[in-house]
Symmetry: C2
Subunit: 150 residues, 2 copies
């Protein structure tokens, strides 16, 4: 399973977000994620397994608890892959965002026929709304990126 496949699942992304703040027991993680996504305990456990098996998390036992921590190695891989695109938004138009960049590129390449009609709106491509699950009550501010159905 590739790093991006692992990150493809919103539950796993959320788990990693929670782990970003430090070590957490499977139970704590489960509580949050079950609440937010409405999945069962085994469901969460399986996601944790995927994180383990793919090197995104390490575990240590403390009594009957399993304490999970982030292992950043695969995330760093992702970061490396992304490096080649970073110039697209780091290149002097940092603040103006990619919308501008696109418009500019298009203008540069063609006669200028294209309608600049929609040039003025946000850069969020698909307006990340709330998650579509059952118990949509967020208890601890999941990142916007995490939201979005499977």
């Amino acid at each position: 399973m590739h790093a991006f496949d692992v990150l493809g699942d919103p539950v796993r992304r959320r788990l990693l977000e929670l782990l970003a703040d430090g070590e957490r027991s499977a139970g704590e993680l489960g509580a949050v994620v079950q609440e937010e996504f409405g999945i069962s305990q085994p469901g969460v456990s399986q996601h944790l397994r995927v994180l383990r098996d793919n090197g995104f998390a390490t575990v240590r036992a403390e009594g009957t608890r399993r304490l999970y921590s982030v292992d950043p190695a695969p995330l760093r891989e992702v970061d490396v892959w992304l490096e080649r695109y970073r110039r697209f938004w780091t290149q002097r138009l940092d603040a103006l965002g990619t919308e501008l960049a696109r418009g500019k590129r298009e203008r540069r390449m063609r006669g200028g026929t294209d309608s600049p009609a929609d040039a003025g709106h946000a850069d969020a491509p698909d307006t990340p709304e709330t998650t579509g699950r059952t118990g949509g009550r967020t208890g601890a501010a999941p990142s916007e990126e995490t939201a979005g159905g499977r």
Copy 2:
């Protein structure tokens, strides 16, 4: 479809890699990717559609050709998400890598009870080998990250 889902597919990642160097026609992209992954033209076209539909690529028509370009917006989103983990490998042990970081964290947190038996192995989670497809002949050096079966 979430950004990470789009990037979950190795063919799409490869297409984006090719587009990183600049505009490319669907045909050029197809040639490379069909060779490397052994998939059909419609297959490639469908992947391009996914990239389009999710804002990773923009197209312009030139005659009968379709010229694709990267739209970095969703990639930037991914970059933003990753930001919270960057400290894990930017934090002074840049060169030494995460292996050290993990060892250090473990040492810091436990009394040393747990078996340190498997503590010494590599950080590559699944040794990125050649892609498992049919026509495995690489013509233009796909990034290691791209490899890995679906």
